[in-house]
Symmetry: none
Subunit: 224 residues, 2 copies
């Protein structure tokens, strides 16, 4: 199980990342600024760092530079939208990826998985990449859905929703939570948009359409 250090001065963002990271079975630790991050890295072994660029005391770039003097830990940088940064400079420091705020947690975790896979820090437990339920299959590597062996074309959101529901099978999921986890914390739209995607998704699942059950007053659930 990989251990991630989350570095951001905003507690809310740390928490959002932490929660979703835990949901994805990562361990986490946190730091509030660059100084703390450097200190924590001296005494702990992290598999990856998610770090904001703009921080008090010591910014992300400088912290990264400092940490790299001692350890070779992959880093994903967060930067505010419109914040002018020198991407190349980042890559020279060996930064592994950028994510621009506001980002969806899902996207961030996808990048985390990608970076970890790339670095493949020794033997990492193979992550579950195929979700199955009867003749319904979701391949998370190829991002494809098959029904009784026949590939079914899904849109991005349909795929994301199906994968999310199946990862949390037999749990009633509220619309709010789905918006948080799939769309991201910065989505302010109508939660009924989920209903439309669910309808379209069901239309593609043929005989398995009823595996997605409606939980009246709450949201939806995948029943295995």
């Amino acid at each position: 199980m990989a251990k991630i250090l989350i570095v951001d001065d905003e507690a809310g963002i740390r928490e959002a990342i932490r929660e979703y990271a835990h949901f994805n079975k990562y361990e986490t630790d946190e730091a509030e600024d660059g100084m703390q991050a450097v200190a924590k890295c001296l005494n702990n072994d992290y598999d990856l760092i998610i770090m904001d660029i703009m921080m008090p005391k010591l910014d992300g770039y400088s912290a990264c530079k400092e940490i790299r003097k001692n350890k070779d830990i992959p880093v994903i940088m967060l930067s505010a939208r419109g914040e002018e940064y020198d991407k190349l400079f980042g890559f020279e420091l060996g930064i592994d990826d950028y994510v621009v705020k506001p980002f969806s947690l899902k996207e961030l975790m996808a990048r985390v998985a990608a970076v970890l896979a790339r670095k493949s820090h020794g033997a990492e437990a193979a992550k579950q990449t195929v979700l199955k339920s009867g003749g319904l299959e979701v391949n998370m590597d190829s991002r494809t859905v098959t029904v009784d062996g026949i590939k079914v074309d899904c849109t991005l959101k349909e795929y994301e929703i199906l994968a999310y529901l199946m990862q949390n099978k037999n749990i009633a999921l509220s619309r709010d939570r789905m918006l948080q986890d799939i769309w991201g914390y910065d989505f302010f739209g109508d939660d009924r948009t989920i209903d439309t995607h669910i309808k379209n998704l069901r239309g593609r699942l043929g005989e398995y359409r009823d595996k997605i059950t409606t939980v009246r007053g709450i949201g939806y659930k995948f029943e295995d």
Copy 2:
């Protein structure tokens, strides 16, 4: 035992929260507006703050900002339905959760428990998600009820009532209290509505129907 600061200008809401919090074994303190809240936080140590956004003198956001200058206390914000609030701004302030009025006290306390569990750095007793009594089972993840292994479809209110009764088994619960805790403090309807739901619920429980006993003159009780 956690101590909660309740901040709202409406005495009725403070009282409703206070009572249910005490019932859940939390200590409470109260403030009527943001200014009072800030002052109280300087002289006391709270584990969590429940605060309304719209308040005289100093609103919730500003109060939160002010308090955060000195202490890092988790905050759950209350906001009226339809009240425009900036979720992202909330995240920046490190607000831990939002609850939209009108809310059920049960839901609010569930969030309180969740936030406190999160903050208490793991090492918290795993939450009970399955309530059992003989062959009667309520799964709070999937929101399902099974009678002798057979799944029984319940409506939202039926499920909520059964879960509530079982969580408070062997305690006689008044209709008023049930309305408060399940429907929410803003429900002004007829308390005989409960009777109808109880009747329907009993109809689904087969041989276990008598586990829900009538406490004449008071309300109902689940006997284990």
